[in-house]
Symmetry: C2
Subunit: 713 residues, 2 copies
């Protein structure tokens, strides 16, 4: 790496600024940092001689502060270092993660105010991360961020895979368009949601995935979002410059800070190979190492649940339709007339427990088990749930004992309805109740507008809450799967009990009108960059009117695509979301779901193109068994992969679950084939994938008996 | 009481409205309710043929609701009843309280919407209370109050004793003026405060005390403020009509309601004798009966504390001046350089414990004992205190054991700094810490702007919090004395562990520049209507520069006035607030403080004129010992009282602590006399009181030895 060199001004005019350079370990990425005229910090990024980030501003605008932290700086210190260590995640796509980067820490001192800000850059082979640090100092103690002014100046009108900027939801379908088209398409992108707040016609959310016309894949995101507001990006679509746009609080302020403090890391991933983006562990590597000493209680799980029947409208979360509204502790549910459609009743739950036990699943989730669902959203209701009082037909101890006898873990559900103060008031009691009744994992939800009223899902105040709930859960040895919370930013390295989030448009939307067929070819490039998603795949019946005649939604996916999701949508928490009876109709396809692992020692991305296809092979932790999966977007394609990931010198039986020739996500989604063939690590596969289709493969070492009956691929 | 009678329209035009009348048990008060043209509810109040409330509107304006709850009503039911029961408060001014009223409940049905609202009126001999009730019903479930539209139309330009309306503080000096002068005086009334938010040039707070030109005393307040926003009054000073003005939330809404629900009671007290206002128990009577089954742990207490030395600036709450700011759990206080002025150190605390034990006090309060005081206000700091981690020089267990050995209760201090989410997160741990370390009572504080940011001290969101903290304290058998919280509204009947509030301008302001000398002759008519005030009296050294040369504040009160406060400022929690050394300088005066009781079986108000003087006699619970006290306002006066409250046929020794002839709150505050005289229930006293002065008397049955040495009065 170079140190201090005099360099021509990055924007064409000569400055006597000391520019710094930082290269990735493999030398392909170069970051240049310099101070522009007036002491304004700038950075730029080049990958293999192609511009990734053109000279872009850095800094923060402060409230009630004439100077802000944008200019009048001098470089008073620079420190360079390298880091190269391996660490083992508790769960993940791979057994060991290499954390290898070159670092440059630039200390900036503001002349007039004598304030110090450090910008720390870490350059990995797959990208750059940088953050602002505010060390303990006399002249900077408490300050309020009016706006962060980090820019990402794009080198062209790239293609982007984006959702509209919003302070309250990420549950939109992705739009693929040029950056210049965002403005005209944003309103259409923002479909109706139970809680949504837009802020700019050219605002988009992170992580943002892009592809340039000269073959680069670029991803913008953040890592380690703790005690800070979530970052969106606002596009200046004249100049193609993104600028950070933080989520405001109720008063419009963007962050209350007290030095010493750090901002989250802003990340720029870049490669000419899309698979590198998916394989990158940079977001985790920028987070602090694990803070939980004994992690033996954190376990990946495959589960079913009393859920899809309510999502489709076949049954209800609510117990009764009798009252105009309910008040916990005052409404006497024992006197209420049951509506006869309540899904979370003991008998039905035991059916799911039986199904889970019979088919090798680890857990059963039940939603709608507790008092309060009759008017749980749309009323800004404060005391909406207490998280411990079951409905009359949900017998907590009977279910606890039955599940235990069957070797099944019950998964708790805490829908907060956005009433966050209420959740915090009850959270210790709720967590204790879980432990007393055999629940080790909780799916939490934040549906609807937030209380305290005026706050947004992604503000600093709420980011603080999600962290509070997570850290408290760790104290109780509870795993958390937080839906409608902020999208993850690698915090699961530090708190691996964060085993999932939703925080994007999940499978439920297939029952709310459907998602785009290529949705799942985008999500791993966007939402999954910071952590796994509880996507809840495994739907076999695509015509929802078959479950609920009043619901004409269609699941825009083939069965083979649904199977592939267990590979392509990595998560330590995987649901088989459909109803048991739908699985029983397709036992051969269901076999894959029964067989697939949820925790991995190795993963290899074989094919990837955002918005079009993703193919990945993974080796199960412990067993060493290989699986592969491919999801396809809008157009038919042939997936060409080699099985070179298999061990050399061995023969495997591959069971391939694929779209039938005439399969189509809309017109013929349930047409699939299952075939078994012999393969080795020299085999190649050319597999036809339907629109919205894909395939899934399970491998096992072939023994003599197997070899006899099968053909080679 | 009359039922349905046709009556000429209250505003001069004939309506075919059914008017209802409700009289007090003694017949002196008459309330008339009627519907005006358009089905608009109205009420009016007459006392002994004098107008108290001219015809005034009732109802609520709802958000996003065309109709609101203001008009289009018909009376679909009326119910009348009477109630007459005695109940015993756990602590109080009297042993038994009579709850005697006539009630009228009017059911109003809104024609267009078919919604039902009940207005319930209760008429006591000393005043009227009424509230809105929203029964469970199909057509009214969730609704948002845009503004409550309860009017109190005054019959003239009365004299009022008022403080400016404010969403965050009541710590203003009272202004005495005509209603018509409020507008021009409001800005001057609102002195600077660490958290303040005005809303109208003619807004005032409740309770509001007034005196009419035709000799009536009128008080407007509310009772049972639970899950609703605090009510201020906004004056239409053209027509002399007050209208309710609720405290808004962050978005400007005034209340989130779910039927079934009630508003608080709106109260109008009236008498031609000011003493009736002070003696009234109406506010308590309108609250629900006690909800705590075993109240044996709730005990009035007289206490001293490590507090005044910090208030005056003699010592500090903070432990160190070394850091630009502190972060709990990160700042290592064990390494910090002590500033040498930290009041809450073990040695100093033990001194106070010794002083308390030697002089018969029950408890010692200590502020500044816990980490975080270095930057506790002005920064909108979220994680400001944890309520359990002491400074290095405050030894929790040593102090606990020492206090116990001396028979002294330590009183805890929880300053929240307005960071309410933080307090709620820690409250269970904090309460448990208290019980583990011998603390049964806590003084809580809410200094500074509220977090969640944007909320105000008196909003529905915060009223809910104060109630949450109080009810949770009851579960832990903890007594609460909440400063800067909303002013009380009689809730101590239901939760008698609420032993105090500040929520007004207390003694500390005498060290912040001084309060008006007649301040204490107003407070019982205003702030104390809803519950006791922890006024922390007993200051003997009026020149604060003697404690802290940099503080030139002067306590605008004589010593005799300070002694009287133990009678006139009723509270189950009474502090002797000055430093032990100042009491030791005046042992004869201090004797009164040592002798005076804090809990009473009987109280008789002897003289009262708001803004001028209050004289009261009280009989101690248990001992039956009598005490009396008188506080005086700006002008010299002679207080004329009879001792008819004493038991007949007995002789008492009365020790009279009075202003010396030349005493004056400003120029000669420490001049007092102590004389012992013999009295009977036939004796009369004519006592000179200085400006800002008064007197205090303790009585004991005279024995033969006493009689010999003393003169008769």
């Amino acid at each position: 790496m170079k140190k201090l060199i005099l360099i021509a001004c990055l924007c064409g005019c000569l400055t006597i600024a000391k520019a710094q350079q930082l290269k990735s370990p493999d030398g392909k990425l170069t970051m240049t940092f310099a101070l522009e005229d007036g002491g304004k910090p700038r950075y730029s990024l080049v990958y293999k001689n192609k511009d990734v980030i053109k000279p872009s501003k850095l800094g923060l605008e402060l409230k009630d502060d004439k100077k802000s932290l944008l200019s009048d700086f001098t470089v008073t210190d620079t420190k360079t270092s390298s880091f190269d260590e391996n660490w083992k995640p508790v769960w993940g796509e791979v057994k060991t993660i290499r954390n290898h980067y070159n670092e440059l820490a630039v200390t900036l001192t503001q002349k007039e105010t004598n304030r110090i800000m450090i910008i720390r850059f870490r350059m990995f082979n797959e990208g750059l991360g940088f953050r602002y640090e505010f060390p303990a100092q006399k002249n900077l103690t408490y300050f309020i961020v009016k706006e962060e002014k980090t820019q990402f100046a794009m080198a062209g009108d790239h293609t982007a895979f984006w959702i509209a900027g919003d302070y309250d939801t990420q549950e939109y379908d992705y739009t693929t368009s040029k950056l210049s088209e965002i403005r005209s398409l944003a309103a259409k992108n923002r479909k109706e949601n139970l809680s949504q707040t837009s802020f700019s016609p050219t605002g988009v959310q992170t992580s943002l995935m892009m592809k340039t016309s000269n073959g680069l894949y670029i991803n913008l995101h953040e890592a380690a979002l703790i005690n800070y507001a979530c970052m969106h990006l606002n596009l200046d679509d004249k100049n193609m410059i993104f600028e950070s746009w933080l989520t405001p609080d109720v008063k419009g302020d963007k962050g209350y800070m007290q030095a010493p403090a750090n901002s989250p890391w802003r990340t720029v991933m870049v490669s000419d190979d899309a698979r590198d983006i998916l394989a990158s562990k940079m977001t985790y590597n920028l987070n602090d190492p694990g803070k939980i000493e004994d992690t033996s209680w954190i376990k990946p799980i495959k589960y079913v649940g009393v859920w899809w029947e309510m999502i489709t409208g076949k049954s209800t979360w609510a117990y009764t339709d009798e009252y105009p509204s309910v008040q916990l502790g005052i409404t006497d549910y024992s006197k209420a007339r049951p509506n006869g459609k309540h899904g979370a009743n003991t008998t039905n739950v035991k059916k799911y427990i039986d199904f889970a036990a019979k088919n090798g699943f680890g857990g059963v989730l039940v939603e709608g088990w507790n008092e309060g669902w009759e008017d749980w959203y749309g009323h800004s209701k404060d005391y909406v749930f207490d998280f411990v009082t079951p409905y009359p037909d949900f017998n907590v101890s009977e279910i606890r004992d039955y599940a235990k006898s069957k070797g099944i873990k019950m998964i708790m559900h805490h829908e907060t309805s956005g009433s966050v103060r209420n959740y915090e008031r009850h959270i210790d009691t709720a967590y204790k109740f879980m432990k007393a009744n055999g629940y080790d994992a909780v799916k939490s939800g934040y549906v609807g507008n937030i209380l305290p009223r005026g706050e947004n899902h992604y503000s600093q105040w709420l980011i603080n809450h999600y962290q509070y709930a997570l850290e408290k859960a760790a104290e109780y040895k509870i795993m958390v799967n937080a839906h409608e919370a902020v999208r993850p930013t690698g915090i699961a390295r530090t708190y691996p009990n964060l085993i999932g989030n939703e925080s994007a448009r999940g499978t439920e939307y297939q029952a709310f009108g459907g998602s785009k067929p290529n949705h799942v070819t985008v999500l791993p490039f966007t939402r999954l960059i910071g952590g796994p998603m509880d996507y809840t795949p495994g739907i076999f019946e695509m015509d929802i009117s078959k479950l609920n005649p009043a619901n004409h939604s269609h699941v825009n996916s083939t069965i083979a695509n649904q199977l592939a999701l267990y590979l392509t949508m990595y998560s330590p928490l995987q649901m088989a979301a459909d109803l048991p009876e739908n699985y029983e109709r397709f036992p051969d396809a269901f076999q894959f779901i029964k067989d697939v692992a949820v925790d991995w020692d190795d993963s290899q991305y074989l094919e990837a193109e955002p918005g079009q296809y993703i193919t990945v092979a993974r080796m199960a932790k412990g067993t060493g068994q290989w699986f592969a999966g491919s999801v396809n977007g809008d157009n038919s394609r042939i997936s060409n992969i080699s099985f070179s990931f298999l061990a050399p010198g061995r023969t495997y039986e591959a069971t391939i679950y694929a779209d039938a020739k005439d399969a189509h996500y809309k017109t013929n989604p349930q047409a699939y084939t299952v075939r078994k063939v012999l393969v080795t690590n020299k085999s190649k596969l050319a597999q036809l994938c339907a629109p919205g289709g894909g395939y899934a493969i399970s491998f096992k070492i072939a023994n003599q008996a197997t070899v006899k009956g099968l053909k080679k691929l």
